[in-house]
Amino acid sequence: MNEPHAVEMRRICKQFGALVANDNIDFAAKPGEVHALLGENGAGKSTLMSMLSGVYRPTSGEILIRGRSVNIRSPKDALALGIGMVFQQFRLVHTLTAAENIVLGEKSSVWRGASWMRRKTEEIGAVAERFGLKIPVERPVWQLSVGEQQRVEIVKVLYRGADLILLDEPTSVLTPGEADQLFEMLRQLRDAGKTVILTTHKLREVMEIADRISVMRKGRMVGTMNRYETNERELAQLMVGRAPAGVMRPAGRPPGKPLLEAEGLTVEAGKGRTAVRDLSLTVREGEIVGIAGVAGNGQSELAEVLAGLRPWRGGTIRVCGREWKWASVRTAIESGISHVPENRMKSGMAGSLGIVDNLLLKTYRHPERSRFGMLRSRRNRAWARSLVERFDVKAAGLDTPVRQLSGGNQQKLLFAREVDRDPKLMIAVHPTQGLDIGAAESVHRLLLELRAAGRGVLLISEDLDEVMQLSDRMLVMFGGTIVGEMSRENADRERIGLYMAGLQDAPGEEAS
């Protein structure tokens, strides 16, 4: 205890506008340990790391490195303090060799001739060797595998003298074999006295690699513990939190006819990866079906298939009793499916266009909106104005580029567009991601209104609270298929958490 912490963060707050990403976080890592920062997406792990690496600066709070209070203003400052970050997206120049990439950030990185470069290459090789990292220093980066590229990034921070190494979701891009290799390297780094902090949302990895574990949830730190004092079940519970706060949710009518029936759905995600395998689900009139699960377990692909954006390989899809023959967005739109995509600005909106044009996106073909190949501009403006009022979208004008609106107003606009079409079925993917509480609530209210009007909602979200608050039935997706299903009455946070972590056999254990 008399040895100072390698890093200590005290009462750290970070706000982005109205959104509190980190709320009064206390965090400490000891020298020479592998410390895992565990939490769902959006829990605030990456934000916390970014403040250590100088990408963001805390709104308030104090950071101590080796017991001294510091002020990290930039990545350069961080590096001077011995903090190196390996980002989820590698920052490498593909046409340069590994060694050149490593030398690139040096202050005196001006090309000094071949002999200088040779010396540098040797130095880099020596550093890599010392920590047991094998990298082909002379090969251009584009020829390297993802795992090798990551190793180059790690050697880069080591070469620059970092002894506190941050890795943001390091395994998200790796194959299982590569991940094992990474862990082996991280252990060697730890044994060499380096402090390693990594963020992840995968429980198994945490149990495998971490010495200590800090769990974050919704911007707060919920606990720090030693690995040998905890187990996956406890971590899962901490990660997803305790009972939800009571919400106003009117009892619905009994669900009606099936709107969406998918059977044995199998979807390829390119590169031979099967994103969705043998998945079956039904959504009926007047019910909200929630799909919980950690990101990357096939939810996005499922949503894309149901929106007509992605072809599927096996299984059948029936919407309102009619079977789909092939993927077609037009068919999806015309059969009354409304899609609130995962990343609204990436695929749901055209940021540089105004409000009217964005509202027209799904309905511009309708005779109300265009006739004889011509847009009915005056009528459309009036319609847009009424929607903006009805959904309380705050914008400077109807022609303001929507990328200038706040996230909440963008999402309101998107819902205005999708709800106004009076869809039979809405597929909402992470509908409240990145929204502040007020905006998230109005989104929830809209979903409940749809349900009250006898529409079906398929809610895909990583936010377990959200899924539990709103859904009539809950499904848990893991590894591309539904691993658990429960009604609202039987929903049990702990069990859902275990399903989400892929520990399917856990409920059985519990019973014994």
């Binding site: 490195i65 739109i333 695929s347 266009l353 027209l360 511009y364 265009s370 847009l375």
Partner: protein, 372 residues
């Protein structure tokens, strides 16, 4: 290493309290969301280009002001100059609108030159293989042939891009050279005027095969084509359903896909239109100005049109203005030859304008802020 890092940490800590810069430091932030090129950026680019070229002209021993004045009067000062400027503006405007349509959906068609030549050759083919048609048949047929050939030449870039992800920059540029060599082949070979004293050009068109001119000037009916095209371009993008689809694709192709719009289909349609307009320009040039197909029929209209389009920011009114100005630049370039300068002076100016335009667009996305 440890000690060094710790020392740096101390420094950073103390520095935060001490470092209050007397001179405000400026910070440059890349922010494409909230910034955009201001409206005066194209004008600034033109003036910057004039200033830089003035240095080169002066270095060559000529007074740059005299040169610019000569260019101005040569292009806009006389009735002859003005009509010549308009004559040059016609193909620039048609090709400029053509590339603008493609640029609206971020398809980088730099093949207007080839599409222009394809149109010119197709129109000439009508005169060669059907020499005796009356005007009412010959001219519409030549127009249709020009548009069709230009459009097909455009499709040659769009098809590989749509189905095999072939980079359109390269394919459209390469197709320019193919069109150019094809032109050389026909004017030196099969279509060479037997009575033309070995001049590399087709036989002169008959009056029935020539677009009518205004009065005694060289200004021809192509002007109507060009202005009508500008009008149609403006109307399509603002008011039609197709225009909306194209705007959507241009703003966010992913969102367009979400609206059920087929990107490939529109890519092909756009290139058909884009190439068609350039082809029409080629037809108007052979039928309205040269009255024959000949070696070097285009002094690079298709390339200049790219600058015309960017300086206009793809805006229809801007296109008309900039096509007129660049027409003047070409005509002015001819008139400075009397001062002993090559007509390439105007090409130098064109290049400089494009350079500053691109630089301006890049800087337009940077916001300058004082660091507190």
């Amino acid at each position: 290493m440890n000690g060094k890092a710790a020392a740096a940490g101390m420094d950073g800590d103390a520095g935060s309290a001490r470092r209050r810069p007397a001179v405000p430091r400026l910070r440059f932030e890349f922010d494409p969301v909230r910034t955009g090129s201001p409206w005066w950026m194209p004008l600034a680019a033109v003036f910057a280009a004039l200033a830089v070229c003035a240095v080169f002209i002066a270095a060559g021993g000529t007074d740059p002001l005299a040169v610019y004045k000569k260019m101005l009067t040569g292009a806009f000062g006389t009735r002859f100059g003005l009509t010549e400027t308009l004559v040059k503006a016609i193909p620039l405007l048609l090709c400029g609108i053509g590339v603008s349509i493609a640029y609206r959906i971020s398809f980088w068609n730099i093949g207007a030159e080839g599409q222009f030549l394809a149109g010119a050759m197709a129109a000439t083919a009508v005169t060669i293989y059907m020499p005796d048609l009356p005007a009412v048949l010959a001219l519409p047929l030549m127009t249709a042939a020009g548009i069709a050939a230009g459009g097909l030449w455009g499709l040659l870039t769009a098809l590989p891009r749509a189905y095999f992800q072939v980079n359109e920059l390269i394919s459209s540029l390469m197709l320019n050279y193919i069109a150019l060599l094809l032109l050389d082949y026909v004017v030196f070979g099969p279509w060479r005027d037997p009575g033309g004293l070995n001049f590399p050009g087709s036989p002169m068109f008959t009056a029935d095969q020539s677009l009518p001119a205004f009065g005694s000037t060289r200004l021809h009916f192509g002007l109507v084509f060009a202005l009508a095209a500008a009008l149609l371009y403006a109307f399509t993008f603002r008011h039609t359903r197709w225009g909306y689809e194209l705007r959507l694709i241009g703003a966010n192709p992913e969102a367009a896909r979400n609206a059920g719009i087929s990107l490939n289909k529109h890519l092909l349609l756009v290139m058909l239109a884009s190439g068609g307009l350039a082809g029409l320009a080629g037809m108007a040039e052979v039928s309205g100005v040269a009255h024959r197909l000949m070696y070097g029929i285009s002094p690079g209209y298709g390339y200049t049109a790219i600058i015309v389009a960017w300086i206009a920011r793809l805006h229809p009114v801007g296109l008309i203005v900039s096509a007129f100005l660049f027409g003047g630049l070409i005509v002015g370039g001819y008139s400075v030859q009397t001062l002993g300068l090559p007509s390439a002076t105007s090409e130098m100016l064109q290049g400089a304008v494009l350079f500053f335009l691109i630089a301006g667009a890049a800087f337009g996305m940077i916001r300058i802020r004082r660091v507190r």
